[in-house]
Symmetry: C2
Subunit: 346 residues, 2 copies
Amino acid sequence: MPRQKSPKNGRVGSSARMRDVAKRAGVSAMTVSRALKEPSKVSPEMLERVLNAVKEIGYLPNHLASSLSSNRSTTIGLIVPSIDNSIYTQTVKGLSDVIKRSGFQLMIAESGYDTNEEEELITAFLTHRVSGLVLHSTEHTPQAIQKIKKAEVPVVENGNIPAQPLDMVVSYSNHDAAYAMTMHLGRLGYKNIAFASLHSTHNDRSRDRLAGYHHALRDLGLEPNPKLIVETSRGLAAGAEAVTRVVHSVPEVDALFCAGDVLAVGALFECQRRGWSVPDRIAIASFDDVDLLRHVSPTVTTLRLPRYDIGERSGQMLLSRIIDGAEHLRGSVVDVKFEVIQRESA
Amino acid sequence: MPRQKSPKNGRVGSSARMRDVAKRAGVSAMTVSRALKEPSKVSPEMLERVLNAVKEIGYLPNHLASSLSSNRSTTIGLIVPSIDNSIYTQTVKGLSDVIKRSGFQLMIAESGYDTNEEEELITAFLTHRVSGLVLHSTEHTPQAIQKIKKAEVPVVENGNIPAQPLDMVVSYSNHDAAYAMTMHLGRLGYKNIAFASLHSTHNDRSRDRLAGYHHALRDLGLEPNPKLIVETSRGLAAGAEAVTRVVHSVPEVDALFCAGDVLAVGALFECQRRGWSVPDRIAIASFDDVDLLRHVSPTVTTLRLPRYDIGERSGQMLLSRIIDGAEHLRGSVVDVKFEVIQRESA
DNA sequence: GACAATATTGTTACCGGTATCAAAATCCAC
DNA sequence: GTGGATTTTGATACCGGTAACAATATTGTC
């Protein structure tokens, strides 16, 4: 009779093991495992005995052991540039809502718009054996790319449509969106359209937006003017500053396209302080449809980007790959729709 | 000579194991483990050989195996009522910044202000063997409490100062904060102070805020008037609605304390639409110092709650318990400071 | 009622690390 | 140079599950 295998005396009262449940139910550990994971493979009476024992003992399965043994985990890693930026939180929520339904857990980390930081986080996630990754970025270090390829983990990139996707992509095109809004302003008759962007993020998203702006100017037959391009930082104050600077260098400016964050609101407040009529003195357009833009006066013309949907779609595709092994999704690029929302400010 | 123990043919190219590194470096697996975890316990030349082998093979340690074997994990679970509410994201960032430095990972989930949902998430986190929990809530189901106690996991509660803490607490007092702001309004001479709160969250936080408001009225010698209390939903529109409703039922109202979310901004916009002067016709005060409140005109009087600090402090205390076994922290309650920020709106 | 097919349960080895203790190497003082 | 203390390395069992296969029970068919 093999006595207690583990002579460990310090077993914490906390964690009952599967074999404890098994003993209590008078079955083997394997039957317990099956009862919990594939109830259909177990006879009804066994199932009941096991479930009772689980409840009596207060057994909590150990996901670490389970994942290690079965070589599959139920965690998904998400890396966003910034955790406290409302732009990303909607996407996070979309993703969270989807994967929660499948019993997956989300590991979230923040890269601070830094690809080296991102690489470290990817490494950390891989050591935790996440079964999928969502990267709200389309720029990565070569090492990061290599590690991901080697780990053979499905990945979704968000935030832009990259020229060379890592794997799957769900995003709008920053180029196309900026192009659409600039064209919209041009068709409304504005001739001196300024462009404000965030200098803190010299990434492909900013560059593509700027390219879209230039592309639209060309198609509109307008002369690009470097003085109409303002780089600024984040926040309401920065939006105000953008107005000040562009008006100072180009007094005849008649429209300002704020391509990021809440810049447009800051710009609008600055115009109100100056007593300027928007859009008569200067039109204002924004990039993201934050709630606020509908409630200020005048209401602000902007782009509607389906940020929640992007998270949701990303989650669905990732889970299809992980759970159903949907290999046909490998490398697919979903270019989601956006639309220009015309309001009072332009 | 024991040949390859595992006859498994389908080893994915992805994951080299510690023993692969060991073989390459010509040492035992145990030496590799020590070289990576406790380099001081290994001779310099061994260390170098191991690190080279790690690099050559591209070895990524397996945290699942490590945690299982050592019976300690490096993940921390965080449950917030809502992922996309900016109020919580600052706390999340504070926590994230701290634990990232220690190499811990954050698992984040959203309870939707529902204690049953919270219980499920707590269970899920415990199956993942998180080494600590942060709950942005102070109300829990009895089962949730029981599971946490049984698992013997350190916990930090945020969001309020509960009468009966689960373990550690880092928060401001909702009662005291609402009391302070109401007293402030009273001392400024306002007599008919209305109170707007969120009906969607019938939790202890809302109740304590209301209690603080009543307490202050009593101390100010003001008669409480049920008609001055408005319950509303979230968002800017709700703030506007609060103004409309309270003015309709109590025309002589001279101050509105918006105890949540961005209600105050919505209320302010509504006043602007009506052409009312703030604070002459009606004063407005808010509960949280969101950036916006400093940029609208008039600027809005509010409370400054150290939300980032709360996350930071929570992380520090949790890590002390986990890493240093700082048992003296068990049950400690940190009542963080807040302050009234007087601006133009009151 | 006999036998093959199927469903149910159990046994054993292993997932990839680490705790523990034993063995070997190195150090130090006298 | 010797013996004991200390440091460095290794062998082995085990963490708590599951895959794979074996053993047993049940079912269906003619």
